[in-house]
């Protein structure tokens, strides 16, 4: 790491106060010359930037922050309930399907007919187009996750507004 000129602070202070004490050093030290040029450009720039700026009152900022914090807390509190409801619904649907499959004779008859007539053709199609089949299964698995992530991101953006 390079070392800063040992006189930099004193040179900057002298430049601020209009002293010419360090003029000789400035003629020789490029680092101090750069620092004086940059400091001269930036000093006072803050006031110029702030001219005409109308900042909101502290009370307004405080109330907006409270309102937003509460809204986000409500959303965060609601999120686990939503996830639990989705899981419960999926489990219930699975159980209903299993019960129907196990007890319904007509369902089993249809299943046997389908596997008898279409099973061979289906297996052949999978063997020929296995990459397509893998892609389709992957899409079915990934799609709900992608939709959930998108909805979450969009609701997060909405909450920030």
């Amino acid at each position: 790491m390079r070392n800063e000129c040992a006189h930099l602070e004193e040179v900057l202070l002298a430049a601020r106060t209009g002293s010419r004490e360090w003029d000789g050093h400035l003629a020789e030290c490029a680092e101090c010359r750069d620092a004086v040029a940059v400091a001269a450009a930036l000093e006072g720039a803050r006031d110029e930037v702030l001219a005409g700026a109308a900042l909101p009152d502290a009370g307004i900022v405080w109330r907006r922050a409270q309102f937003r914090a509460r809204r986000e807390a409500i959303q965060a509190a609601g999120r686990p309930i939503t996830v639990a409801q989705v899981v419960a619904f999926a489990v219930a649907m699975g159980l209903v399907g299993a019960c129907v499959g196990a007890t319904s004779e007509s369902f089993q008859a249809v299943l046997a007919w389908v596997s008898g007539h279409w099973g061979t053709a289906f297996r052949a199609a999978i063997a020929d187009h296995w990459m397509l089949a893998v892609g389709a299964v992957a899409a079915m698995v990934a799609l709900p996750g992608a939709i959930y992530a998108l909805v979450t991101a969009l609701s997060g953006q909405g909450a920030r507004r």
């Binding site: 790491m1 390079r2 800063e4 680092e31 010359r33 750069d34 620092a35 040029a37 940059v38 400091a39 450009a41 930036l42 000093e43 720039a45 803050r46 110029e48 930037v49 702030l50 001219a51 005409g52 700026a53 900042l55 909101p56 502290a58 009370g59 900022v61 405080w62 907006r64 922050a65 409270q66 937003r68 914090a69 509460r70 807390a73 409500i74 965060a76 509190a77 609601g78 309930i81 939503t82 409801q85 920030r160």
Partner: protein
């Protein structure tokens, strides 16, 4: 969504509202805001080159500060955290726009040229153009060092670099800006 009754007719959401806590109370916040809002706004305006965007980012900065669970040892520490948040907020805004901050073909320069912005000197326009050529971190470091008079430790905390790296980073930024200002003259 179903409203889940959990206790005395209150839902989890109702209880979450009661549990919301900000890092300080309103009175303390008012004082902290009065002391720092103008400086932070100027910092954001210079980082982004957009006064209107700085208004929004100021609100976001103070909100993130209030929601952070950090414990601050002193007012200086609190102020450093605020500037670090402001730096990150400006960086996030830049990424959202997915373009370089609008300094070079700057709306700010254009506003001044057509007389819509606040009255500024030619020197200030040179400064704006020079800042446009710097990287955001370089702009941040130089602004904090020379417009705000921050110490090296404060600058390092605000821009998120190691204090040991700051001197050389600041040196390079300063040399680059001096060359740009030299070209403007």
């Amino acid at each position: 969504m179903l409203r889940e009754t959990t206790y005395n007719g209150l839902t989890r959401a109702d209880m979450a509202v009661d549990a919301v806590e900000l890092v300080m109370d309103e009175e303390a916040f008012r004082g902290f805001y009065e002391r720092n809002a103008r400086s932070v706004w100027a910092y954001l305006a210079r980082l982004t080159g957009d006064r209107q965007l700085a208004d929004d980012l100021l609100q976001e900065t103070f909100y993130r500060f209030l929601r952070a669970s950090a414990v601050h040892e002193s007012d200086t520490h609190r102020r450093n955290s605020l500037y670090l948040i402001a730096t990150n907020v400006a960086r996030d805004a830049r990424r959202r726009r997915a373009v370089r901050m609008p300094y070079s073909a700057s709306a700010e320069v254009e506003q001044h040229r057509v007389g819509e912005g606040p009255a500024v000197s030619e020197k200030s326009l040179d400064l704006t153009r020079a800042l446009a050529e710097l990287k955001p971190r370089e702009r941040a470091m130089l602004w904090l060092a020379y417009a705000e008079g921050a110490t090296h430790e404060e600058i390092a905390a605000a821009v998120g670099v190691r204090p040991s790296s700051l001197k050389s980073l600041l040196f390079r930024a300063r040399r680059k800006m001096a060359a740009l200002l030299g070209g403007a003259r």
